[in-house]
């Protein structure tokens, strides 16, 4: 476990979380969510929890992003607030 690597990933995690909350374009927000999932997958893989990281990469960064984008396409792309 390399702590410098951890610090970088954690900073990026906070940044992507804030971006996903602040951005008005819901398509962009779901893609930033995919980046968030991938970063947390890196963190888990680095901590040695490879099974959890695998699940996060497949479900969080992969399928759930696609499902969210599909939902955005069939609802609305602009956030109301």
């Amino acid at each position: 476990m390399i702590w410098q690597f951890d610090i970088i990933i954690l900073i990026f995690l906070v940044v992507t979380a804030v971006i996903a909350l602040r951005v008005k374009d819901l398509l962009g927000a779901s893609m930033v969510f995919g980046i968030y999932s991938f970063l947390i997958c890196l963190l888990w893989a680095e901590m040695g929890a490879v099974d959890v990281a695998f699940t996060e990469a497949a479900v969080g960064a992969g399928v759930s992003t696609v499902i969210m984008i599909a939902t955005v396409f069939s609802t609305t792309r602009r956030s109301k607030d």
């Binding site: 099974d51 695998f54 699940t55 479900v59 399928v63 696609v66 939902t71 069939s74």
Partner: protein, 249 residues
């Protein structure tokens, strides 16, 4: 209102951050999770008793088989719920004009997908079949297999993907996965042991008690993978077409 939201977030965040210093250190041997009798039993005895090197899979599929079984049921219920809410029959609602038609993506994307799809599916099957020796298992492999059908739907249109994996087949596979898992538990019951106690199956599976548990884990992982594959594809196809299952993304 936003000010109070920010205030509560700051207060709760401060409380959570101040609580983290009471946590045991990462990898601490004396932490309650590591020093208890249960986890040391799993770490020391899993490979000896089940012949499965990946103890995460052994705990998920064998020692806590009930947990995984009902997780699979939860996924099944989620998929059935999405179908019950979204699925519409008949053409009462007019199809919006701005949706991409059934022709799918462009030539380049189609060719790339047709090259990469067999490898995705093969890797997904490897993850399912090799889940008790390496990272992975039924959930991950099932999600990847479902994602390969989603990719097929994105590149070639939903009609092409539905010709491989029709709605009826989706539901049958989702139910069949749970049937395999529960049926394996009932088989243990029939062989004269507890529900999901795989060591009872050593008389019908080759290789002794340990290998019977290992093979049984593979069987229930296949069940989990079937359900997850079917539900993932059904979720995508219902969400992307507002339940009409005609023209997708």
């Amino acid at each position: 209102m936003k000010f109070f939201g920010l205030l509560s977030v700051i207060i709760v965040g401060f409380l959570l951050l101040s609580a983290t210093k009471d946590f045991p250190n990462w990898g601490d041997e004396d932490s309650p999770a590591n020093s208890g009798p249960v986890s040391s039993f799993y770490i020391e005895k899993t490979e000896e008793k089940t012949k499965v090197p990946n103890m995460v899979t052994a705990v998920l599929a064998d020692y806590r088989g009930y947990d995984t079984m009902f997780e699979t049921v939860v996924i099944f219920i989620a998929g059935i719920g999405i179908i019950a809410v979204l699925r519409t029959y008949g053409n009462n609602e007019s199809i919006p004009k701005n949706q991409v038609g059934d022709e799918g993506a462009g030539l380049l994307a189609r060719m790339t997908c047709s090259l990469i799809l067999p490898f995705i599916q093969l890797f997904a099957l490897y993850v399912v079949a090799h889940g008790h020796h390496s990272p992975g298992g039924g959930f991950q492999g099932g999600v990847m297999l479902g994602a390969s059908y989603i990719l097929l739907a994105l590149a070639y249109g939903l009609a092409r993907a539905k010709s491989c994996f029709s709605e009826k087949r989706t539901l049958v596979f989702a139910a069949l996965g749970i049937f395999i898992y529960v049926g394996w538990g009932v088989l243990c019951l029939v062989m004269g042991s507890e529900f999901l106690n795989y060591s009872a199956l050593d008389s019908i599976l080759p290789g002794g008690v340990e290998m019977a548990r290992s093979h049984s884990m593979l069987a229930v992982e296949i069940g989990v993978a079937l359900t997850v594959t079917a539900i993932m594809f059904s979720m995508f196809s219902n969400l992307s077409t507002k339940g009409r299952l005609d023209k997708g993304l």
